[in-house]
């Protein structure tokens, strides 16, 4: 039995088990194992994204399920080259996701523009349009690398003072888009 920080203690016994810990930790335990990602890709990296969801890499076993709509998704994976024309769509998808929401930049293109850096039509990195939590190098990253990125995100989620945030005791992660500025249809 060991406890590190806010992490709950989980014990399995003959009569069933129990988990003991701060509520934050328990909530985070649930959250980190149900990070649903948006099934969305903009270029070749999306093929590896699909592969990661397939039976061999089997992202489902960590709780990474794909969702077809941003309204049910927690994670936006920027899988592929982002053109300026696509930028507004990506931003719109991100805004349609409920907080807390996370972004993973998958592959060189989403990190920096990749091999299309010199192009007039390519955004030089996804973090120029949405805030990014995890960067995964590679062109494309293998499914293993994407899984590692998702697991890094789990670690981040695990450490968040989630309860205090939703109670308003701590500010939510710096919101780059002040309320009322956009989407006031």
């Amino acid at each position: 039995m060991s406890a590190a920080g806010d992490r709950p203690i989980i014990e399995a016994g003959p009569e069933g088990g129990f988990a003991l810990g701060p509520l934050d930790g328990l909530l985070n335990l649930a959250r980190k194992h149900s990070l649903w990602y948006l099934l969305f890709g903009t270029a070749c990296c999306a093929i590896e994204l699909m592969q990661t969801g397939g039976p061999r890499a089997d992202a489902d076993r960590f709780g990474f399920l794909f969702r077809p709509t941003p309204r049910q998704a927690d994670v936006l994976i920027l899988a592929g080259t982002i053109t300026y024309r696509m930028a507004s769509r990506i931003r719109r998808l991100h805004e349609q996701m409920a907080e807390p929401r996370y972004v993973i930049a998958m592959g060189s293109c989403a990190n920096t523009g990749g091999l299309f850096q010199g192009s007039y039509s390519v955004v030089k990195g996804g973090d120029l349009i949405v805030p990014v939590d995890v960067y995964i190098p590679g062109c494309p990253p293998r499914p293993e690398a994407l899984l590692e990125g998702l697991m890094l995100l789990q670690q981040k989620v695990e450490r968040e003072p989630y309860l205090r945030k939703i109670r308003g005791e701590l500010p939510l992660p710096a919101d780059p888009w002040p309320a009322g500025k956009e989407c006031k249809e």
Partner: protein
């Protein structure tokens, strides 16, 4: 038939249809057909007769170019011209042809051939998008690859990349700060992809 003979046949047939012979340009094919030419030779058509020539190339039985392989442009600022090049192929005769015309760079305008080969539709939109060639009579001349409010036509050799597009920096010097992200205006408050001045929708059908 050697490439030289094929080109001569096409030239003669087009001359019959247009009343003037198109000139042969580029590496003339070796008459003996021995050495491979350095590149495709082409037939140069006056811009004013472009659609006529294309229609003839498709319809004359001895030409029968039923397939448009590609339609592209070349910017030649030193000559003050923009060239438009069409690569054609005839399935009937198993033969290829390059048609070319030259436009004034200051105000390039050309008749659309989307009615001749439907495949030309998107090629011509690309011509407009990247080189700024206006296609007269095109059914739907919008940009193909870039957003509608994009400044200029980037395949022009003198095009300068602006420092930012709707607040997104076009160079990667540093990660955008939260404040910089907040200043970006490319997602207009109302409706996806409409520019704030109330211009055209950028073809995205909304989300």
């Amino acid at each position: 038939m050697s490439p030289a003979e094929e080109l001569a046949t096409c030239q003669a047939a087009l001359a019959g249809a247009l009343g003037e012979a198109p000139t042969v340009g580029g590496a003339a094919p070796d008459p003996a057909g021995a050495a491979a030419p350095a590149g495709d030779a082409w037939l140069e058509v006056p811009a004013a007769r472009w659609r006529e020539a294309c229609r003839a190339a498709r319809d004359l039985p001895e030409l029968g170019f039923d397939f448009l392989r590609s339609l592209a442009g070349v910017d030649r600022p030193e000559a003050g011209r923009i060239d438009v090049v069409a690569h054609l192929f005839s399935y009937r005769h198993r033969r290829a042809l390059v048609l070319r015309t030259s436009l004034e760079r200051a105000a390039p305008e050309l008749d659309s051939v989307a009615q001749v080969w439907p495949a030309a539709d998107w090629h011509e939109r690309e011509l407009w998008d990247l080189l700024g060639v206006r296609l007269r009579g095109h059914p739907d001349l919008r940009r193909l690859l870039l957003p509608e409010d994009w400044p200029g036509h980037p395949l022009r050799k003198d095009w300068q990349e602006p420092a930012e597009y709707r607040g997104i920096p076009t160079r990667r010097e540093a990660r955008a700060t939260a404040g910089e992200l907040a200043k970006q205006t490319y997602l207009a408050p109302r409706g996806l992809g409409r520019d704030p001045a109330g211009g055209q929708p950028d073809g995205g059908g909304g989300a």
